[in-house]
Symmetry: C2
Subunit: 103 residues, 2 copies
DNA sequence: GTATTTTTGCCAAATAACGTCAAGACAAGA
DNA sequence: TCTTGTCTTGACGTTATTTGGCAAAAATAC
């Protein structure tokens, strides 16, 4: 199960030639856990993204986007109807915030 | 906390002038639980959507879309960056399925 | 071959989501 | 006002899901 987020971490890390061990240490988690994050079977905590962005020299906002995108994808992954659903959300973002819907 | 899904249920139900009690009974859940589903502080189970669509005479697929949209919205609700995230998902849906990313 | 890094399976602990109960709010009608 | 029925809410115990770490296995490097 690959994720945009985990995949990006891996690529960035390899560019820096940094072992997982180092990153795990910085996050104060087990290497196994970090490994799982890269592989996409554990999710990084939002707070950890900050540290990751810094360690890997990558824009924090962009990293958060990937992290969120993965969560969203998981919801629609098994839906033939995925793009329609995304459209509904996009169309209703404003109304959601007003707590009124146009649907 | 309003949801597209819960709101739709409420509207449809009111059109039919049906009490929550009846729907709750059909779903074999407490009225309180159903009430929360309409209000958006409990989530219907996917299997329940089928029954709801039937009871309320509404297209099942559309209902599922709203239900999924709510889940997605929850993820990006507190993000200034919401549309960007949706775009990333949309752009990567195909690649996700190939387990390769373009990001 | 040995050492290092990465990956996996498993489990207990933590977290989140759930459904129900009981009580309260609200509206309509007597 | 009192009653009846509907809707809503908070609290609480239960269930389900997610989590992190350990230990051991794979894979890779030396």
């Amino acid at each position: 199960m690959t994720t945009l987020f985990g995949n990006k971490l891996k690529v960035l890390r390899e560019v820096k030639q940094m072992p997982q061990r180092k990153i795990a240490a910085a996050l104060e988690i087990d290497t196994a856990t970090y490994c799982k994050i890269e592989k996409g079977d554990r999710r990084a905590k939002r707070e950890q993204i900050e540290m990751l962005a810094e360690l890997l020299d990558f824009d924090k906002k962009k990293l958060i986007r990937l992290w969120s995108a993965d969560k969203i994808y998981e919801i629609i992954a098994n839906d033939d109807d995925a793009s329609n659903i995304l459209n509904i959300v996009a169309e209703n973002i404003v109304e959601y915030k007003r707590k009124i819907s146009k649907v």
